[in-house]
Symmetry: C5
Subunit: 323 residues, 5 copies
Amino acid sequence: MVVACASYADGRRVADVPIEELGRWLDRDGQFVWIGLNEPSEECLSHIQRVLGLHDLAVEDAHRAHQRPKVEEYGDSLFVVLRTVEREDGENETLFGETHLFVGPRYAVSVRHGCTHSYAEVRARCEAAPQLLKQGPGFVLYALMDCVVDRYFPVVDCLEDQLGVLEDEIFEGRAGRDATERIYGLKRELIGVKRGIAPMIEVCNRLARFGVGLIPEETRLYIRDVYDHALRINESIDNQRELLTSALEANLSLISVRQNDIMKQLAAWAAILAVPTLLAGVWGMNFEAMPDLKLPYGYPLALTAMAGASAYLWSRFRRAGWL
Amino acid sequence: MVVACASYADGRRVADVPIEELGRWLDRDGQFVWIGLNEPSEECLSHIQRVLGLHDLAVEDAHRAHQRPKVEEYGDSLFVVLRTVEREDGENETLFGETHLFVGPRYAVSVRHGCTHSYAEVRARCEAAPQLLKQGPGFVLYALMDCVVDRYFPVVDCLEDQLGVLEDEIFEGRAGRDATERIYGLKRELIGVKRGIAPMIEVCNRLARFGVGLIPEETRLYIRDVYDHALRINESIDNQRELLTSALEANLSLISVRQNDIMKQLAAWAAILAVPTLLAGVWGMNFEAMPDLKLPYGYPLALTAMAGASAYLWSRFRRAGWL
Amino acid sequence: MVVACASYADGRRVADVPIEELGRWLDRDGQFVWIGLNEPSEECLSHIQRVLGLHDLAVEDAHRAHQRPKVEEYGDSLFVVLRTVEREDGENETLFGETHLFVGPRYAVSVRHGCTHSYAEVRARCEAAPQLLKQGPGFVLYALMDCVVDRYFPVVDCLEDQLGVLEDEIFEGRAGRDATERIYGLKRELIGVKRGIAPMIEVCNRLARFGVGLIPEETRLYIRDVYDHALRINESIDNQRELLTSALEANLSLISVRQNDIMKQLAAWAAILAVPTLLAGVWGMNFEAMPDLKLPYGYPLALTAMAGASAYLWSRFRRAGWL
Amino acid sequence: MVVACASYADGRRVADVPIEELGRWLDRDGQFVWIGLNEPSEECLSHIQRVLGLHDLAVEDAHRAHQRPKVEEYGDSLFVVLRTVEREDGENETLFGETHLFVGPRYAVSVRHGCTHSYAEVRARCEAAPQLLKQGPGFVLYALMDCVVDRYFPVVDCLEDQLGVLEDEIFEGRAGRDATERIYGLKRELIGVKRGIAPMIEVCNRLARFGVGLIPEETRLYIRDVYDHALRINESIDNQRELLTSALEANLSLISVRQNDIMKQLAAWAAILAVPTLLAGVWGMNFEAMPDLKLPYGYPLALTAMAGASAYLWSRFRRAGWL
Amino acid sequence: MVVACASYADGRRVADVPIEELGRWLDRDGQFVWIGLNEPSEECLSHIQRVLGLHDLAVEDAHRAHQRPKVEEYGDSLFVVLRTVEREDGENETLFGETHLFVGPRYAVSVRHGCTHSYAEVRARCEAAPQLLKQGPGFVLYALMDCVVDRYFPVVDCLEDQLGVLEDEIFEGRAGRDATERIYGLKRELIGVKRGIAPMIEVCNRLARFGVGLIPEETRLYIRDVYDHALRINESIDNQRELLTSALEANLSLISVRQNDIMKQLAAWAAILAVPTLLAGVWGMNFEAMPDLKLPYGYPLALTAMAGASAYLWSRFRRAGWL
């Protein structure tokens, strides 16, 4: 689907371009066309490929999903693959999508796959800053990358919050039976997110440092900014992963501590019940000569002795912290 | 065994070449010979070596199995070792094989070892795209590498599925006694697969980036594509390994949790039975003066007391979640 | 808030500069202005940006907190982000702040965020050593970085002390229920501190080794000194993290050892009580012909036998170390 | 001890050289001397040093054992240290030795330490291939390195077999009390072997890639082959180490699983015995009015009830898999 | 304290130099002064600084302890920081000290901090080999570094011995309650030693490979030797750390195994005592019609039955390995 297609000159939108007339707009000096596509049909993509002269391999990649984030140079044009993330409200799952960018001297094409948010806001923000947009298609590349990377922040923050909740539950002893599963699930999510952001660091680095003709010097400063954001997200993920590993171990420790507690209680109650049982057994023996059985208050005394022994044990275990 | 041997000019098959007449076809300008071998006999291989002038060391390697994936330059020819994987349907085991490639300016030879799938499909696909095949033997090298690497995907997906099944079993409490063994087995498989793919990354990288005369600029773009696939497979394996490590720990945690549960039940039932036993002991004592023994309904009252105590304990343990 | 703003010539303070007249002081040869800001208002910052000609991106970063420590070159000026740490007395928490530095040929600006200690002492120390300060704004950069890095030492020492206390508690068996939580908390703190210091190593390295025009050769030696300090702090953090991981495992081991001890006690006491209970049961049987029941001293003998059996078991368990 | 000393020209043995006349043979063009020593005496070594002009440091190293594998260039001569391994049949221990090689334009000296296998076979194989041996002392260096590295294969295979046996024992539940010790022992052995092979990778790499005058281009191809073998051995060791770590954890998991099983049995049998004990207690009470005691078949009925209760419990536990 | 101060020419000691007349000796061609200091006073150090023209930063570092091993170039002079270790006999603790070296074209100064062994033996050994010492101050640098690094060997060996003792105790089941603590303590020591040796590798590498004017080509060979020693120590520490991690886990495994054993014994004895208790309960019931109670040898038969049941259980548990 073609979301938007417009021509820009000097940082300002000149005209909306019908996709069929794309060819006519490409040879105008000082202008470039910015096309936004969302899961385009095959014909649409091959039309664009023919007009813009895109490389077969790049277009093939743009069809197939599940590419690794990367940047490829084909002659004087760039092909960039980015992985997008989003979390729907109320849904406890991260959704991954892909965005492919083709950037040439006179065009910038974005192709969204499995990503519900459009890049309309990016276009709006760029059009609001013509002094920047006039840097050309390279700036469009920056603006889209910046948007993709910034969408990682709420996802990472959300995972961080979940970790915080888990920590509180674990250390306040409220961790339910599913704590282990949730730790594991969080780790799985983080690995997925990392898979998206880690190669993006390399992509930004290549675009920012190594001379790529399409990216003017001024725009590189901006891409370095995206690079810093990607680094920060990546660092945050790594820290969370390390904490999760420790949380898993800490949880195991606390389960063992609780086991010790239960065992102590078990032992204490066993003793508290076993002692009067023994006494009852003693006074239940059938010896002929058992003077205590004949005491007038033998029975209440015996009950008192049993209760006393149990109470004594109970208080000792109590003091020792076993109960 | 010679599977196929044909000469190509301008991307089209010119003629099938009998292996004995190989020499006559090698000195024709603008042509190259593509030979496919499957576990060739020693004579066959030394015949080809003599005609093509292959290096002793390379041919020695091609005889012996168990090479590490690598690329070696001998003068103006290349020797590439690849590790192949396959999984037969219904069999829960990954089979490893090897493919050795000799590529020179006028020939491309593939030697399969312990790999049941032939490369006939690769040849068919190449012949269907003469505009690409006319890039020469370098393109044949790419096509074979692409095929070998793409065969890793179903294997890795299959292992990923097994991990998913294991996770479900573990966290739904259905993990049998063999969960640990299966986690371990999966890890072993992954290490084996990684052993095949990881050095292939380096092989692709060297072929794609460092100038090797045999590989024209255009073909390098294609090899970079294989490189990306290898990277992706490798990344997926690493992620699975990390998850398996966590799964092993999570499983241990859950075993401990279950141990706690059993211990709580053990303690609860011990108490529920010990209390009436104690009471029975008390009323079994032989004191002379035990007025309760003389109550008309003493016995049923005693039984009621015992049952009541047990029931009370049962309900308390129930509420506490121990039962 | 403008904390201080003064012009320096030849290492000596020439005059206090009102921030409004900043522009007039910037074009005096051989002089530079050193401005200290603390959470400046937006107008103040944009005034300074306009006068000094700072880059948009740098100023934007200076507004937003949560930057990663980094150094950026914009033309002939430098933008440095540092993370600061402090620990208030009595508070068991590390507070993180940020300091942004803009350094150009004729100015040095420091912007503090969330950091309670001012840099007045740095200014005082620099003014006390005019022979060094006359190296120019680069030396101011060094002095501020040195101050920021040196403030990590007490924090790291404090964490090290806490680790020592924890170790003692764990290995002397005094580790309470919260040992696991405290180990985890310490790890979290260390990860936070590491997040501040690790990128600073790279910052110092870039400033010390790679030719940056603003930093004279002589000043680089000093920055290498800061680099060494950062390395040392980082190394200390890494070592503590490794020790914490071991401490967590050691704690788990000791919990298991203690579990063994409890189980041994449980078993020993169960046996000590079960044997006389069995004996009482035996003599409580109702066989008609039980000659021992008729012994004149049967009862005391039986009690003695029971006590003796228990005492024997007790002493054996004692010797075996189970009690 | 001088094992062998001969002069070679054009790849063929010219004459056996008495070690005393070594000097006379060194200045013959197109010839080189190959000396094999086994734990030589100090005089012998210093005689050779004097004649060949070896560097003090190299000879000092050759005296002392326990060097790290390395290659050093002294002027136009090379000093190579290799670590050798062997396993005697029936002995479950890897023996480590060292071999030092001195190679110059007209000599190749091998010095064995603590290595029972001589290099006679290497010399034999070289003499059988004069077309290769005529490459000079560099080829002798290759042949010795190849032999040393190839002797790692049986050792690594043997350790791999032991790991396989351990895995089977662990997962078939046959793992004895010493499984942990054997895993640990295997890890220790692997660390030892790794210590020998890992630096050898670097040695081969330096000799194969970086221009060393003594090693002709043709010989480098051969050394690259040794490099590949060393890489493969190293990789195999790393994989085994990772598997051992997992095996240790898996073993711990299985011990915990077994603990759960024992605890379940313990609980089940406790219950099976406690219930009839309780019943016996009940009927052992001394209430006056206990009508069941007067039933004509009371006793057998009681016994039946007790047996029935136990049997019922037994079958329930059986079904639940606790017994 | 000035330990020694002498002037050397051509590798031989020319004269002892009073520290006050140091200046007069520095401008003599072909001579250099070697000064040994031990925790010098501030005046002494600043006197030497003034005379030799040392850099402020280096001297500041030499005052403060706790530097990281490093090498710094100041103009044509070198400043080297080394960390020293020693273990006093009978004391189970590694002591860390520091040695700072200032080396210039005509002087070599060593400053010891917290290190009880003097470098007198180094001076003696150097003076005994004038042919080496005449290489100049660079050789003195080598000799001191060699001495410092070699003192790591006994410390590392001692730690290795302790690990061996621990392993024996753990696997022979003799590991006391403090095994965990000792493993942890050993790890702490190793981290400390590693902190000393690891940066020294880098120091040696820089001195040996990168052209530093002060170090003649010949001396570099010697420093490469120190580099090898440092590598070897570092490797040994890494291996020990890995083994310690495994030892901690192995110990935990064995504690769990022992727990299983105790639980089995507990269960076995509980059953052995519970069965006769049950029988006694049965025969203690008060049914009117219990023919077995009237058997003439009922009592001894009952006792026999009880003993028999216990003996049977005992032998079964014995055979099953539970007792």
